[in-house]
């Protein structure tokens, strides 16, 4: 047991990879055996994931650390660990994975490759969430791409090649620029301290000087493409529409989360000054994503495209909440990640089930499904409501906390100015009032409109598909397997919606720590006030103090 405890994370990461070897020996013609072997392996990761969840201590430290040297010349190591934030995303991954394999129908061509790719994908995703070494992270980040590329390209719809090439090129473009920034981070740290390290906990607090903005943009571009945030989102609808149902589920459920996770773990803590500097731009992009995604989703005629654009809109909340950089906002953002992962994955499952029966995804050709499919109605309704963010579903918790956090952060200067007396603001000192704040405030207001728009397009879609004149006679209702896929999702959505503490109790210490340490890096005047330049030596000294205090806090 002790051996297992000590290697639990590497077991979790490499179990699916080992599973590929098992699948390799199963002959192609035993399709059921292939499916259940893959299912069993992913179920095993689920069990380990839950074990991890329950044995995780609710504090801010990195736990279950494992460190093995890998490439000594640059001190690159296999360094994994889990904190409250990555714990939830790992859990999301291991919950979705067996459901996808359970859902997959053995009629699919070249089944062995299909399951192998999914298991490889799981290894990649878990690796991204658990890596604490920046190069290891990059390796897993790229490992995720290849199976997804083949899943869309081999089992996708009519325009699958266009979609999958677009997906791959967008992501690779971002990640290559990230690679440049990543190497620069390591080299600048080496120049300052004389030590090569790729350990992210050691890299925090490095002073990058004038390059910081560029490095930050390199990372953020890669992550924003993955999320995706407004101007970089165009690959997503194509990929979703063309991908097979299983691919869409894992794409919406986990892959989009990699981007936000990257921001939390790498971009923001590594570059706190640049984050502050670019904050307005980033938040505005998130807000545009919320509204733009909602409006475009409203106009969609295709069921899958509508859900895909609603993803753009919902991921916008994660960005807004995250860049509020206070406890409320970040917690909201994390909960929204999980909630969106569950609800949208469920919606893509439902769309896949409807498509199997009706052979169309066009909303206008569907209608009146409620009459013959009561079970479908039940699951579809809960998932739709969760997606809208109705109270008592997880979607509400996520969206509400994100917006609350954003309001606290961005709206307060404006509100304070208008309501409280001027000298009160003067006493707080750093609160200044600009046209830009009003702009942000107004956008914050519009952000709430996104929720309303969400209700409009989701309920409109639901109504058109489920009610009205029945266009299909005697449609088969959901079978046992399909219910088994959807029940866990619905249960988790309701559980988190009713008692969010069950997950926030695990994340809160980590979020606190993240927020506190972010604000600990005071913005040096050399960056904010031009003219009065302080020497970089004094800045670095000041910085290494903050860094050391952080080192002590680490386990």
């Amino acid at each position: 047991m002790n051996l297992f405890e000590n290697h639990i994370l590497s077991t979790l990461i490499f179990l699916p990879l080992m599973g590929i070897l098992f699948l390799w020996v199963v002959p192609q013609r035993y399709s059921q055996l292939l499916k259940w072997t893959a299912f069993l392996i992913s179920l095993l990761t689920t069990v380990i994931g839950f074990y991890l969840f329950f044995s995780f201590q609710s504090d801010a430290s990195m736990q279950f650390l494992e460190l093995y040297p890998w490439i000594p010349s640059y001190n690159i190591s296999f360094f994994v660990g889990v904190d409250g934030i990555s714990l939830l995303l790992v859990l999301l991954t291991v919950v979705l994975q067996p459901l996808i394999i359970l859902y997959s129908s053995p009629k699919t061509q070249s089944l062995k490759a299909f399951y192998c790719l999914f298991l490889l994908l799981e290894t990649g995703m878990l690796g991204v969430f658990l890596s604490l070494d920046i190069v290891l992270f990059y390796v897993f980040w790229e490992v995720v791409l290849i199976p997804m590329y083949f899943i869309i390209g081999l089992w996708g719809g009519a325009h699958r090649i266009y979609a999958t090439v677009k997906f791959l090129l967008y992501t690779v473009f971002g990640s290559f620029l990230m690679l440049a920034a990543l190497m620069a981070v390591v080299m600048i740290h080496h120049e300052a301290t004389g030590i090569y390290t790729t350990n992210i906990l050691h890299l925090y607090g490095t002073f990058f000087g004038t390059l910081e903005s560029w490095l930050f943009l390199g990372f953020v571009l890669a992550f924003f493409i993955k999320v995706p945030v407004f101007p970089f989102h165009t690959w997503l609808p194509d990929a979703h529409v063309q991908a097979p149902t299983e691919g869409s589920v894992i794409l919406a459920g986990v892959l989009l989360k990699l981007g936000v996770y990257g921001l939390v773990r790498f971009a923001i803590p590594l570059f706190p000054f640049a984050t502050k500097g670019f904050l307005p731009l980033l938040v505005v992009l998130g807000l545009i994503g919320v509204l733009y995604g909602a409006f475009v989703a409203w106009a969609q005629k295709d069921l899958k495209k509508l859900v895909a654009y609603s993803s753009v809109s919902h991921m916008g909340y994660c960005i807004i909440g995250l860049f509020a950089l206070n406890v409320l906002g970040v917690t909201g953002s994390i909960v929204q990640l999980v909630s969106h992962g569950l609800a949208t994955a469920g919606l893509f499952f439902v769309v896949g089930m409807i498509y199997e029966r009706a052979n169309t995804k066009e909303i206008s050709k569907l209608g009146g499904l409620a009459a013959s499919c009561p079970r479908l109605l039940f699951f579809f309704l809960i998932l739709t409501l969760a997606s809208i963010g109705l109270p008592l579903t997880s979607g509400f918790v996520g969206e509400f906390l994100s917006l609350l956090g954003a309001f606290q952060e961005f709206a307060q200067p404006v509100l304070a100015h208008s309501v409280i007396a001027r000298d009160a603001i003067a006493a707080r000192g750093d609160l200044s009032f600009t046209i830009f704040d009003i702009f942000i405030f107004l956008l914050g207001v519009f952000g709430v409109f996104g929720v309303i728009l969400g209700a409009v397009y989701m309920l409109g879609m639901f109504q058109k598909v489920m009610f009205g004149k029945p266009k299909f006679e005697n449609m088969k209702d959901l079978g046992f397997k399909e219910c088994a896929v959807l029940i866990p999702l619905v249960l988790f959505i309701l559980l988190i919606g009713i008692y969010p503490n069950i997950i926030t109790s695990k994340t809160n210490p980590s979020v606190d720590y993240f927020v506190k340490h972010f604000s600990n890096y005071k913005i040096p005047t050399a960056i904010t006030i031009s003219g009065e330049q302080r020497s970089s030596a004094s800045l670095r000294a000041e910085h290494s103090e903050a860094w050391q205090s952080k080192q002590e806090a680490l386990p």
Partner: protein, 469 residues
């Protein structure tokens, strides 16, 4: 001790032995096995040698130091696999073929050891002449004849540049020996314009050999016209030989002149990367595509020359040799697939993933490695090279290189799409012979193994480079 050049003597003796076999009309496999035996023997002899960094031979014309050691090690290994691939794919094998391969190997090994400008010229000609013949292996093929003709005429031009440059440098320094020239360069009297002109002429000539833009015109034609196995020999061995002499000249002897040659290397590096990658986008013939990708990889390798700043930081040089080794492995793999299957165009590869799953998987891994996707060795070699460049503050160069790597992903993907995602044109399962299977298997294992455990190659390079500077 004095026989440190014994591996070269073994190769040369065996090459002439093979010619004798031809004279006696022995079994056709005899020359193959004889050559293979000689290569393995010389590899064993080489590994037994202690590197003597400062010893020179034959009135200072050869210097068997780390540069020679590393490149000869790579060259012999490449030649072993070229032998295997040739046996598998060239039928009927002409007996003098192996003679030419061995003599070319001899020339390449000598050029990497040359410490004397005339010696460089002689060995350059020695292996180039062998290659002109190898390109026209299929005498009746019009394309091959055209390719060889182009290669020969342009190569002769480049050789002319080299001789003229040598003459100019001799006029200033009064010596052909690199260490004497180095002393003249270090003398405080300032640089004679003839010296700089001579150096730039040498640079042009070698840029032709490493296929840097704008001296790259011969590459796609020669690569396309030659049999695939000869192409893989050119893409790997010739590149190592040419880069090793560029390395010796510009990073040891002409290093004090770096302020003069830095800019031209910089411009050529960017041009080579951009032209190579953009031109590769438009190719339908895989041999041409891989030829342009080989040009682009020369561009990446030139980054090491620009990032090398002083001898206290050898990281760019280690990265350079690591990249060259990994590049050879993956290119030998990729061209090996072409040679073993006889396929050339994208159309041939349609549905290949369903006809020969294992071969297609290997080919995909080689291409992904060329594109620099982890966890293959191609990623790690790029990581080493670009980190070294960043450490010497070449940010713009690295960003341009990575954007180029991004472009390259697209054309490598085209092959994957053809293999897995397009309508199959039918055709039967391709079966390849055992030597080819061994070659591709080893290259695949190396591509993955070096991506996960680069330590062994790193240590080898670091040991060998000790004492070069």
């Amino acid at each position: 001790m004095s026989m440190i050049y014994l591996p070269l003597i073994v190769i040369a003796a065996c090459a002439f032995g093979i010619l004798l076999c031809e004279g006696w009309r022995l079994q056709k496999n005899v020359s193959f096995f004889l050559g293979l035996l000689a290569l393995i023997a010389s590899l064993a002899l080489l590994l037994n040698q202690e590197i003597q960094p400062h010893l020179t031979f034959f009135s200072h014309s050869l210097k068997l130091d780390g540069i020679w050691y590393v490149s000869t090690f790579f060259l012999i290994i490449i030649s072993i696999f070229i032998f295997l691939l040739s046996h598998a794919s060239l039928k009927p094998t002409k007996k003098e073929y192996f003679f030419f391969v061995l003599i070319a190997l001899l020339g390449m090994s000598l050029i990497s050891a040359s410490n004397h400008l005339l010696m460089i010229f002689l060995s350059l000609e020695l292996f180039s002449l062998c290659l002109y013949v190898l390109v026209t292996y299929n005498v009746s093929d019009v394309r091959a004849n055209e390719a060889a003709m182009k290669y020969f005429i342009l190569g002769a031009f480049a050789a002319g540049f080299f001789v003229f440059g040598t003459a100019l440098i001799y006029a200033v320094s009064g010596s052909f020996v690199l260490s004497d020239i180095g002393e003249v360069i270090l003398a405080p009297s300032g640089y004679h314009p003839y010296l700089l002109m001579g150096v730039s002429l040498l640079f042009v000539s070698l840029a032709f050999k490493v296929a840097a833009v704008p001296f790259h015109m011969w590459v796609p034609d020669a690569y396309e016209g030659a049999p695939s196995v000869v192409t893989s020999f050119m893409a790997t061995a010739v590149k190592i030989a040419a880069f090793s002499v560029l390395f010796r000249l510009f990073l040891t002897c002409f290093l004090p002149l770096k302020t003069y040659w830095h800019t031209s290397f910089f411009v050529l590096c960017i041009a080579t990367m951009v032209v190579g990658n953009v031109a590769a986008l438009m190719q339908e013939n895989l041999k041409r595509m891989l030829a342009y990708s080989a040009i682009a990889h020369s561009g990446y390798l030139l980054i090491a020359f620009i990032s090398f700043q002083n001898i206290s930081d050898l990281a760019p040089l280690h990265a350079f040799w690591f990249y060259l080794a990994v590049y050879s492995v993956m290119n030998l793999g990729a061209f090996g697939v072409l040679a073993a299957t006889g396929y050339e165009t994208l159309k041939d590869f349609q549905g290949f993933g369903y006809r020969s799953a294992v071969l297609a998987l290997l080919f995909s891994v080689f291409l992904m490695s060329l594109a620099g996707i982890p966890p293959t060795a191609g990623f790690l070699s790029k990581f080493y090279l670009f980190s070294a460049a960043i450490a010497s503050k070449q940010y713009i160069l690295v960003v341009i290189a990575l954007i180029n790597a991004f472009i390259s992903v697209y054309y490598y993907l085209k092959v994957l799409i053809a293999m897995y995602m397009s309508e199959s044109i039918g055709g039967e399962k391709v079966s390849i012979s055992l030597p080819a299977q061994v070659t591709l298997g080893v290259m695949f294992a190396l591509t993955i193994y070096l991506g996960l455990q680069p330590g062994i190659l790193n240590d080898f390079i670091q040991n060998a480079m000790r004492g070069v500077f």
